[in-house]
């Protein structure tokens, strides 16, 4: 029997916002990673919560520490964190969109996920649009429609013109708009409009019984369903102080790693498609289909939905251990062989080499997550640093190290992770074969409390900051890896031309649903 997560998620309330920023920057200077900034509407005002990923110390294991401070009631603004810590850039814009509080000193406060008229304009006689304010109890606000006129529309400099690409792009892609500023061939700068897919997911959590929350968590970012469900369940298990039984932990690892496999195979297929390698694209999509059919046979959903529930899992896999091992062995062999062939195709590698470079110091400064960060030498894998479920026992093996920062490095990182995943799946299947007797879920009473749960999605670390009261959720703050990483997309176009765009986008491998939520 292993605990739900060996990490801790303490939270501290700090007196004022400037002191909060001092604590945050001091912590970051001391080696922590800035993991997110969320806000909650309280009766007295807005409460800002900053999440920091702390390294293991003598006193406490590695975990996520939350520091909070309240914006003084009646104040419409607070001093911004972005001038002190650049990684907070998008977080403060989102808080402004959802709550209307203005971070004073923010270098570019435009709407990010919900463009409405500005608060200051509202104060000077403009119309005041209601803001959703997650965390506020009461009936859900009526439909809020984004205002296209609240966006900055004149976005280019001299000698450049803007190609608006999106939101309905060519291909079956998620809706996001890229405003590519270009003099005609290369891309000196890129702007993004991500508000199109905003669905108000965080607000939908409020008022639901905690047992239903896992369903909504799975549908926040569909390509990382299992990871989101795991993060949600970890938060609840931390609130209830429940320990997940060993077989359940193994099943969770199985599904998380299969999801990672599917995601990385999808990225490889997209990159091969961009390079025009038709057979390679077909083979990698075939492998992905086989993985998804395997997942479907195991639990009845091709995306692994419905398996992870608070306290454990809903059922054992419907595929026997021997069959699973055989299928995994076949997959590993064919995928490994095709990956080696792909990484030896020079026409393919030429498209990826030095394309979309992310400088290592930038990745470290921002705290880039997942393969994006690992490709630039910055690695903070939640399975390694703050392990959960069966990972502490199974062990991840030697992580590969890439420094290139370009699309090729990120692809190499993904192949390393695929190798790791196969290893973990085989181990988990073995152990499951021996330990299949026993309860599958611990008792996780729908309680009262607040905790942060995390899990490593294929894109990187996902955080869930959950507050529950009387068995109902009062606030759920979601920080997906896609949200944290997408802002780096602005900076990776150094000398690349328009035709490199799909490679850079595919090498990031992010999901817009997780960004716009």
């Amino acid at each position: 029997m292993r605990p739900a997560g060996t990490g801790a998620s303490p939270s501290r309330l700090i007196g004022s916002v400037p002191e909060l920023w001092q604590a945050v920057t001091g912590s970051v200077a001391g080696g922590s990673r800035f993991a997110g900034l969320m806000a909650t509407q309280r009766p007295g005002g807005v409460l800002l919560s900053a999440q920091l990923a702390t390294p293991a110390a003598s006193a406490a294991p590695a975990g996520i520490v939350t520091c909070e401070a309240a914006v003084p009631p009646g104040d419409g603004s607070y001093p911004a964190l972005t001038p002190l810590l650049g990684a907070a850039f998008w977080y403060e814009r989102e808080i402004h969109d959802l709550f209307g509080v203005i971070p004073a000193g923010h270098p570019r406060l435009e709407p990010l996920i919900l463009p409405l008229g500005s608060e200051r304009a509202a104060g000077q006689g403009g119309s005041r649009a209601p803001r959703p304010r997650p965390g506020r109890s009461g009936p859900e606000p009526a439909g809020i429609w984004p205002d296209e006129h609240a966006l900055p529309r004149h976005v280019m400099g001299a000698g450049l013109f803007t190609i608006p690409h999106g939101p309905v792009r060519s291909g079956v892609l998620e809706s996001i708009e890229y405003l590519v500023e270009t003099p005609g061939e290369d891309i000196p700068h890129l702007n993004m409009r991500v508000f199109y897919k905003h669905r108000g997911v965080e607000k939908r959590f409020e008022g639901r019984p905690v047992a239903d929350g896992v369903l909504l968590a799975e549908r926040t970012e569909g390509v990382a369903s299992v990871a989101h469900a795991l993060a949600w369940c970890h938060a609840l298990e931390r609130i209830a102080d429940a320990a997940v039984p060993w077989p359940a932990a193994l099943v969770r690892v199985l599904h998380a790693e299969l999801e990672r496999l599917a995601s990385h195979l999808d990225t490889a297929a997209r990159l091969a498609d961009g390079a025009g390698l038709a057979v390679a694209t077909a083979r990698f999509s075939l492998h992905k289909e086989r993985v998804m059919r395997l997942v479907g046979r195991m639990c009845g959903s091709r995306f692994g939905r419905g398996v992870v529930i608070p306290g454990g899992v809903s059922a054992l896999p419907e595929v026997s251990g021997r069959e699973l091992q055989a299928e995994i062995g076949r997959l590993e062999q064919t995928i490994g062989s095709d990956a080696r062939e792909l990484m030896g195709t020079s026409s393919f590698l030429d498209r990826l080499r030095r394309t979309g470079p992310l400088r290592p110091e930038r990745a470290r400064e921002h705290g880039a997550l997942g393969p994006v960060g690992k490709g630039s030498g910055f690695s903070d894998d939640a399975r390694l640093a703050r392990p959960y479920d069966a990972y502490p026992a199974l062990g991840l093996g030697e992580p590969g190290h890439q420094e290139g920062g370009d699309a090729l490095a990120r692809l190499r990182v993904r192949w390393d992770e695929v190798h790791q995943s196969f290893h973990l799946i085989r181990q988990a299947a073995d152990e499951l074969g021996e330990a299949s007797a026993g309860a599958l879920r611990a008792d996780c009473p729908a309680g009262d409390g607040r905790a942060v749960g995390w899990a490593e999605a294929p894109q990187g670390e996902v955080l869930y900051d959950v507050r529950a009261e009387d068995g109902h959720v009062t606030r759920c703050g979601i920080r997906s890896a896609s949200y944290h990483n997408l802002v780096l997309f602005h900076e990776v176009f150094a000398g690349d031309i328009l035709t490199d765009f799909p490679f850079i986008e595919a090498s990031f491998g992010l999901s817009v649903a997780g960004v716009a939520r």
């Binding site: 439909g143 809706s175 199109y196 997911v201 569909g222 057979v279 999509s285 992905k288």
Partner: protein, 261 residues
């Protein structure tokens, strides 16, 4: 010769023969929940079972399940297996929103038959060569993966004369996924207006049919039915590729029977 070609040849043929021949994966896959016993005991409490509010009671006390809101959570099947079960096979698409309410009543069946005939007549020119345009109106990303899976060698929609196109000017069928996020309402309308007639709209996924778990959110329109006129409704969370294929063939009138009984 490129080293990829022998690899592909060694794999052999992996493409399914569906719809010409039945496919065991397609037939065995489970779809949204369905009602096995319309008049069970304790019928009034059953509505609380569903987290997506798909279960309701009809005027005569019988149980009705709206598949357009079913997110396949499995709660109803787990709690009351004698009343609720999974539907099997790929055919859960319906040509009217009411067609997703099970069990069907005769008036709905008539309306569906009329709708099918009208759709067949309207898409007479599209039968053998269909071009698709997809719009993501606030999905969670999973439906896009299932739609893209149609291009992999297993499903290979190109063999059926169905192609994806980038410009709505060249498109015949509009696939819409997502719960109808308000930010995408105007772009969705622009895309729909940019398609020449005859055109068919398929709402793919439970989110698109009725909003799913996001129904009632301040930022969605509870599905895309209120934004543009929808011709084919396909529930599922997400619907597997075979279901999407079935809905496509239904939309262009290439399936004789609309729905597995």
């Amino acid at each position: 010769m490129s080293p990829w070609v022998p690899r592909g040849l060694r794999e052999g043929v992996v493409t399914t023969r569906w719809p010409r021949r039945p496919d065991p994966y397609a037939e065995g896959w489970r779809g949204p929940a369905t009602v096995l016993d319309p008049h069970p005991a304790g019928g009034a409490d059953l509505a609380a079972l569903c987290p997506a509010s798909a279960i309701s009671a009809a005027a005569d006390g019988s149980v009705r399940l709206d598949q357009g809101r079913c997110v396949l959570s499995g709660r109803c099947v787990a709690e009351r297996p004698e009343v609720f079960g999974w539907s099997r096979g790929p055919g859960h698409a319906a040509l009217a929103r009411d067609g997703l309410m099970v069990p069907r009543i005769p008036e709905t069946e008539q309306a569906l038959a009329a709708a099918r005939a009208a759709l067949r007549a309207r898409t007479a020119g599209l039968r053998r060569s269909v071009h698709l345009r997809h719009v993501d109106a606030g999905s969670d990303g999973a439906e896009e993966q299932e739609i893209l899976a149609l291009l992999n060698p297993v499903y290979d929609i190109h063999r059926l004369g169905i192609f994806f196109t980038a410009s709505p000017r060249h498109a015949d069928v509009l696939l819409v996924t997502g719960a109808g996020a308000h930010g995408m309402a105007e772009p969705l309308r622009r895309t729909f207006a940019g398609m020449p007639s005859p055109k068919v709209v398929i709402a793919v996924g439970t989110d698109a049919c009725g909003g799913g778990l996001l129904a009632g959110s301040y930022a969605t329109s509870d599905g895309v039915g209120g934004v543009i006129p929808v011709d084919v409704w396909l529930p599922g969370s997400p619907p597997p590729p075979f279901s999407i294929l079935h809905a496509l063939l239904l939309a262009v009138g290439r399936l004789a029977v609309g729905r597995d009984q």
